[in-house]
């Protein structure tokens, strides 16, 4: 018997192609080392038109030197690139499209570029693949969006290309794994070349070229919230969350969003939480970046363990000195990993609580407005109920039982608590609650199959505002759900159009709980209840280990 073989099929074209790229690169580089002043020329030699390219960058660290060098390339040499990257954050990321170097885009997060990316999508300069969650885009790196070339960032490298990423490891291992093991080319920018790296975060045999930027990569202090800006309504909302959700469900394992409402919760743990006797019963294990506002709770002995997506500027020494709490390497500094932490947030946390810009009457939420496409980052992953979860826990079972009163207990799924928290009016008095999400208008305008919804209504279990908590698990009809949402929507148009009688009935069934129903004294909603009232207080609470970036210092 003979098995038919494809005639003349070469099974190792990709390896050959990578070898050709490396040879082309060596016309400019000396071994693995690229001279920084010839970086653009180097990229023109190794990148081919139509390549899938990942410029490493997320909501925190950025391969900024490489992004700039690629944006300066000649469009005649490099064009039609398909960018597959977590963050579209630097202006250069979009200059690529303006200059015709790149054409197609798959991404997760666009924070500071959200207005420009919207304009360019409307203008047709960008061909959009999809807006992903981080974990989802990482997954596609291994299936159908594997990069041909990855431009990554590290703190230092040795001459073999071993990389030290420092506390901001973030996406690097994932990007390198997908690219290098599938015959793609990995190019790293580093802050310095050293004889021996403090720890090997990326083995040198996976890294093909290195450029010495002679300065650290850019990092955005995105997770620093100044306690001085926490308002009393945010404090009231945080008290509601702690007393009305964290305590009754016994939430120990959780993820917090980046807004002021959750910063307020962190700052109330050692004061309000302590007075309620909750230490050890809630908030002991986090999937969370090293939030400066978590320092007082850590110092007061609340927090047992934190795994992080990334680091936070200024928190390096504090984290290194608290290795019982954080994950640290043999060099002593934080080891973060976005893919693992997103997985931890999905499967090992009982609650996600975060803010959004718009919530509709079905409980769908979105941060997209008609003029801004901010992307998702990790929120839709954190803020979803994982149907693959199989391990029980007290909060998960309790929430499951509230949602499903008919199934026998051993066959009932638990539920992850997915909580949207916010003030009924946001920035510039814009209402949080809307009749229709702007995301729908956007989807229509761009002819998208899917509206960019951050958290779907069927995943949301609770909405918390200063007016109260709405428990959507206990709603038994879409009508009840709508009135439960209206019932905490305050004096927004949505809130004022509530059916008052129905809302009162929902309150009797504890589907809606007001501050007075939970025995919360409004006079406690005072800034004196915050464990730290300024960035300086946080620094002092850390024993001087937290070194706030200059923009947060006013002393």
């Amino acid at each position: 018997m003979h098995t038919k073989r494809m005639a003349m099929k070469n099974w190792n074209d990709q390896k050959t192609a990578r070898a050709a790229r490396i040879a082309a690169g060596q016309t400019v580089a000396d071994g693995k080392m690229i001279p920084a002043e010839r970086l653009t020329e180097f990229l023109e030699a190794v990148i081919r038109p139509g390549d899938r390219v990942c410029i490493e960058g997320d909501n925190q660290k950025q391969a900024d030197l490489l992004a700039r060098a690629l944006a300066n390339a000649a469009p005649a040499r490099i064009n039609d690139l398909h960018m597959v990257q977590s963050g579209v954050v630097l202006p250069e990321h979009l200059d690529l499209f303006d200059r015709g170097i790149a054409r197609r885009l798959d991404f997760s997060y666009s924070g500071p570029q959200s207005a420009r990316i919207a304009r360019m999508l409307f203008g047709g300069q960008i061909e959009l693949g999809a807006v992903h969650t981080y974990l989802e885009l990482f997954a596609r790196y291994f299936i159908d969006l594997t990069p041909n070339v990855a431009l990554i960032a590290a703190v230092s490298a040795d001459r073999e290309g071993n990389l030290y990423t420092g506390p901001n490891t973030e996406d690097t291992p994932t990007v390198v794994e997908a690219t290098s093991f599938k015959d793609g080319l990995v190019i790293a920018q580093v802050g310095e070349i050293v004889d021996r790296v403090p720890r090997v975060d990326i083995p040198g045999d996976l890294v093909h070229f290195v450029v010495d930027a002679k300065k650290p990569f850019y990092v955005e202090p995105l997770f620093t919230r100044d306690p001085a800006a926490v308002t009393e309504t945010q404090i009231l909302t945080a008290m509601l969350a702690i007393k009305g959700l964290y305590a009754p469900y016994g939430i120990k394992r959780l993820n917090h969003g980046i807004g002021f409402s959750t910063a307020a919760i962190e700052l109330l743990l050692p004061t309000y939480g302590e007075a309620l006797g909750l230490r050890g019963r809630i908030c002991s294990h986090f999937a969370l970046n090293p939030h400066p506002t978590l320092i007082p709770a850590i110092e007061a002995g609340w927090v047992e363990q934190v795994h992080s997506f990334g680091s936070e500027v200024g928190m390096e020494d504090y984290v290194a000195a608290r290795s019982d709490v954080f994950f640290t390497g043999p060099d002593g500094s934080l080891r973060s990993n976005r893919a693992f932490c997103q997985t931890a947030g999905l499967y090992a946390c009982d609650m996600f609580i975060g803010s959004t810009l718009q919530i509709d009457l079905a409980g769908h939420s979105s941060t997209v407005t008609t003029s801004r496409i901010a992307g998702f980052g990790g929120a839709p992953n954190m803020g979803s109920d994982p149907h693959g979860r199989r391990h029980p826990s007290e909060p998960w079972l309790k929430a499951g039982a509230e949602a499903d009163i008919t199934s026998p207990a051993p066959l009932r799924r638990g539920r992850k608590l997915v909580v949207q928290i916010g003030e009924t009016f946001g920035d510039k008095n814009v209402p949080l609650f809307v009749e229709q999400l702007d995301a729908l208008a956007l989807a229509q305008k761009l002819n998208l199959d899917l509206a960019p919804v951050m958290v779907y209504g069927d995943d949301v279990t609770h909405i918390v505002t200063e007016e109260g908590i709405a428990n959507l698990l206990l709603c038994r009809s879409t009508d009840e759900r709508e009135q439960a949402i209206r019932g905490v929507a305050g004096y927004t148009d949505i809130g004022r159009q509530r059916d008052r009688k129905m809302v009162e009935r929902l309150r009797e069934r504890k589907i809606i709980q007001r501050p007075e129903d939970l025995g919360i004294n409004p006079l406690d909603a005072d800034r004196s209840l915050l464990a730290a009232r300024s960035i300086k207080d946080l620094m002092l609470a850390s024993g001087g280990l937290y070194k706030p970036p200059s923009r947060f210092r006013n002393w």
Binding site: T233, E423, E467
Partner: protein, 104 residues
Amino acid sequence: MEELSFTLKTPRPAAGARRQAIVGVVASGNLEVLVERTADTDICAIDIATAAHGFRAVWEAVIGDFVARGAGGLRISINDGGARPDMVALRLAQGLRMIEEPEA
């Protein structure tokens, strides 16, 4: 500056015996609320001086909810620096709570 005045029926008199309470500060996005006792225990009288014009309907809604909880025998004077309705509702709740608390 816009001035608004409301005299509203309320289901219950405010509890406690304090004569007066004051909460908040006059600042942008904030407000000062002075609460005083009066003899009319089924009436709550509210005078508002606000920096933001044209929000009468929202004030009516916020104050309507507030008096429905029982705020009889009170005169409330508000100096508003353009606070959002959620902040106004919180300050009113704080003022009521303070005048109902025992003297410190």
